[in-house]
């Protein structure tokens, strides 16, 4: 008996150690390209491929890191592009959350005929890839003179089916008794939405907000179709513009990539707790 007692924990411990090792290796494999990008952003572009073949410790480390590539970025469009992307993303999050939350409220709390059909259309809207409708949509926007405007860049991100779906699922978990009580006390639908649903749904709103933010932060094809000039340029387009026809300074490109990755990374890390909470509690009653 005592033999089995001592053996089992040892086997468990070995298994646990092995699993941890495999987990750590997989984690490192994910980190490696990001780390390589960071290291190469800290050395001259001409050194990017110097240590690739054969692989050595210098491939992943540099003894003379410098910020020259980041300083070079200051003279280009990237600063303005990041500012524009942030502006577009923040306005989209604020306006989009308001509209998506109202839609979700209508589809979850207010009983009316055809509610299921409308929700079906909403679901369908986010199952169709945006790229598939971008070209005809761009033609419509051009007819409305929204080309090369911030409104033209913001509008497609505001009504997001995925965000409506996330918030609606969360709203459905709110007990209907609360709504009935509030209605009996004389609160209108707007009051129920504003005073009961919104305060209770912070995690879902943050999750949906992140979805809206990332949609705009990563937007690339739409700004190109909208004919954005230097005043309306967005981050991903500015990053791609760094790749010249005859010459690519990989050091500068990697520095720009690091900056463009860090901003959403910081936001996601800050909101991570709420995001997980919103996804894990969606649909729970």
């Amino acid at each position: 008996m005592s033999v089995t007692v001592t053996r089992r924990p040892r086997r468990l411990r070995t298994g646990y150690l092995l699993l941890s090792l495999v987990g750590a290796l997989i984690g490192l494999a994910f980190l490696l390209p990001l780390w390589w990008t960071l290291v190469n952003s800290l050395r001259p572009g001409s050194d990017t491929f110097a240590f690739l073949n054969p692989l050595s410790w210098q491939t992943f480390f540099t003894l003379s890191p410098n910020l020259d590539n980041y300083v070079t970025l200051l003279s280009g469009d990237l600063g303005r592009a990041i500012g524009n992307s942030l502006f577009i993303s923040v306005v989209t999050v604020v306006a989009g959350l308001l509209i998506c939350a109202m839609a979700a409220f209508g589809l979850s709390a207010i009983p009316f005929r055809g509610r299921g059909a409308i929700f079906g259309i909403v679901i369908l809207s986010f199952l169709i890839p945006f790229d598939a409708i971008a070209i005809p949509l761009a033609d419509m926007f051009r007819d409305w003179n929204l080309q090369n405007t911030f409104i033209g860049l913001i509008l497609p991100g505001i009504g997001n089916g995925m965000a409506i779906f996330l918030i609606r699922t969360f709203f459905l978990a709110i007990p209907t008794e609360l709504v009935e009580a509030a209605r009996l006390d004389g609160l209108g639908w707007w009051g129920v939405f504003r005073r009961i649903y919104l305060p209770l749904s912070r995690p879902a709103l943050i999750g949906a907000g992140l979805t809206l933010f990332l949609f705009q932060w990563q937007a690339y094809m739409w700004p190109l179709l909208m004919g954005t000039d230097q005043n309306h340029i967005v981050g991903p387009v500015a990053l791609s513009n760094l790749q010249g026809q005859f010459n690519v300074d990989y050091g500068v490109m990697f520095a720009a990539s690091v900056i463009l990755t860090l901003i959403p990374l910081l936001i996601i890390m800050i909101c991570q707790r709420y995001f997980i909470q919103s996804v894990s509690t969606s649909g729970l009653k």
Binding site: G45, T149, I154, N231, V237, N241, Q243
Partner: protein
């Protein structure tokens, strides 16, 4: 609860303000009065700043607004926006082999009234690339050629005398590979490198040198011909470079110049833009010599670069034409397009003024470059074929080049490419 609702109201107000504010900021005061010319291209805005300010100084009241589109998306963005008759593009840059396709689609304004001036301004090759069905559709702004950059230190280590810049003493590809292998034996990592390892532009001369032609034939230039002995032999030679470890497989197109700058290869096939790059980065004794040809074959160098054309949907065609003429036909204007980049102006007069500046960039390393470029453009330059099916042809050939350098059997892969191109062209005939 009140705080939450207040915050919500504030947020909605911010959104509304932002939306109304940004619509105001996006209005374009100049676009309605006809004095703004909108130029679209893939270059950094700094590249075209000198030609724009020179034009604006000569044409008071007219301004030029430049928009950059990422190089890889230029073609698709142009297709979508021109098809939608987008008036926000007046003048745009056209990759020369695409001229005929864009013209056939109705995306270029007919410039035939400028034929005589255009003929006088540039070389016959640079004039002909803009002609489709006897009409002139664009004007050449830039030109290019290819040369071989040599690491003389690496050759000296192997006891080999470096080639010279004299085109009459042009090396053969066979000689170059032998010297490259000797340099590898003496310590070089690689023997020979192309800059555009999977690019038709740089590989076309290999087949042309062996009599294989451009790969496109026929009266309507819609017959693929990439399986003839010239193409097969040239591509087998190219495949051998990789299977014999003379060239590295892992480094992609336009990523190879750092390998030369790091001193890891004795021979590098590159363009005029590399002169400035190596002047800055290469810390060894290098020189520039003619691009080799096959033993017993013809000396052929790539040619062509960018032309500019006018969008037929433009509301400012007159101002656009004025700007285009300034950038292509006026020597001073054309020279200004190359002030911030190392590329050859297509205008012959501008080219003569520009080449000494290019040669001076590399000091003694680039001695003789001006004469070499002038000679190559005059005698060995072969432009890419003019065909409405060029876009599909280039894309399929570039895929074949990639497969061939990664080990696909040459004959079979060229046959595949030929049938793929023929299938794609069926609907164009």
């Amino acid at each position: 609860m009140r705080r939450v609702s207040l915050a919500l109201v504030a947020l909605s107000a911010t959104a509304a303000l932002a939306l109304s504010g940004c619509s105001a900021s996006s209005s374009d005061p100049g676009s309605a009065d006809g004095s703004v010319v909108k130029l679209l291209g893939a270059e950094d805005p700094a590249t075209f700043a000198p030609v724009i300010s020179a034009f604006e100084a000569e044409n008071k009241g007219t301004t030029v607004k430049y928009t950059q589109v990422p190089f890889d998306q230029l073609s698709s963005t142009l297709q979508q926006r021109l098809a939608a008759k987008d008036k926000d593009i007046d003048v745009y840059t056209v990759d020369q082999p695409n001229v005929s396709q864009l013209a056939a689609q109705g995306f270029l304004e007919d410039l035939s009234d400028l034929k005589d001036q255009a003929k006088k301004a540039t070389t016959p090759e640079q004039y002909s690339v803009n002609v489709y069905q006897d009409k002139l559709w664009a004007l050449s702004v830039w030109n290019s050629t290819q040369m071989m950059f040599v690491n003389n230190d690496a050759l000296a280590k192997a006891g080999i005398a470096a080639p010279t810049a004299n085109p009459a003493e042009r090396w053969t590809w066979e000689q170059t590979v032998d010297a490259g292998k000797a340099a590898q034996a003496a310590g070089s990592k690689w023997g020979l490198l192309f800059e555009q390892v999977e690019g038709y532009y740089q590989l076309q001369p290999l087949a042309e040198s062996l009599g294989g032609g451009s790969g496109i034939t026929g009266k309507d230039m819609l017959t693929a011909d990439v399986t003839n002995p010239g193409w097969t032999k040239a591509m087998q030679w190219y495949a051998d470079l990789y299977s014999n470890n003379v060239s590295p497989r892992g480094v992609g197109g336009f990523q190879t110049s750092p390998v030369f700058a790091d001193g890891d290869v004795p021979f590098f096939i590159g363009g005029p833009w590399d002169v400035g790059k190596f002047a800055e980065n290469a810390k060894f004794n290098w020189s520039v010599v003619p691009m080799p040809a096959f033993a017993g074959g013809k000396a052929v160098t790539p040619n062509g670069s960018w032309s500019w054309g006018i969008n037929p949907a433009s509301d400012h065609k007159d101002a656009a034409k004025k700007f285009l003429e300034f950038a292509a036909l006026n020597p001073a204007g054309n020279l200004a397009t190359t002030e911030k980049t190392t590329i050859i102006p297509a205008n012959t007069e501008a080219q003569a003024k520009y080449l000494p500046t290019l040669e001076a960039l590399g000091g003694t390393h680039s001695a003789g470059v001006a004469d070499l470029i002038t000679e190559e453009i005059k005698t060995t330059a072969v432009p890419r074929p003019v065909s409405v099916g060029y876009v599909q042809f280039e894309s399929m050939m570039n895929k074949a080049f990639a497969d061939i350098r990664n080990g696909s059997p040459v004959e079979a892969r060229l046959k595949d490419a030929q049938s793929q191109i023929e299938a794609a062209w069926k609907k164009l005939r």
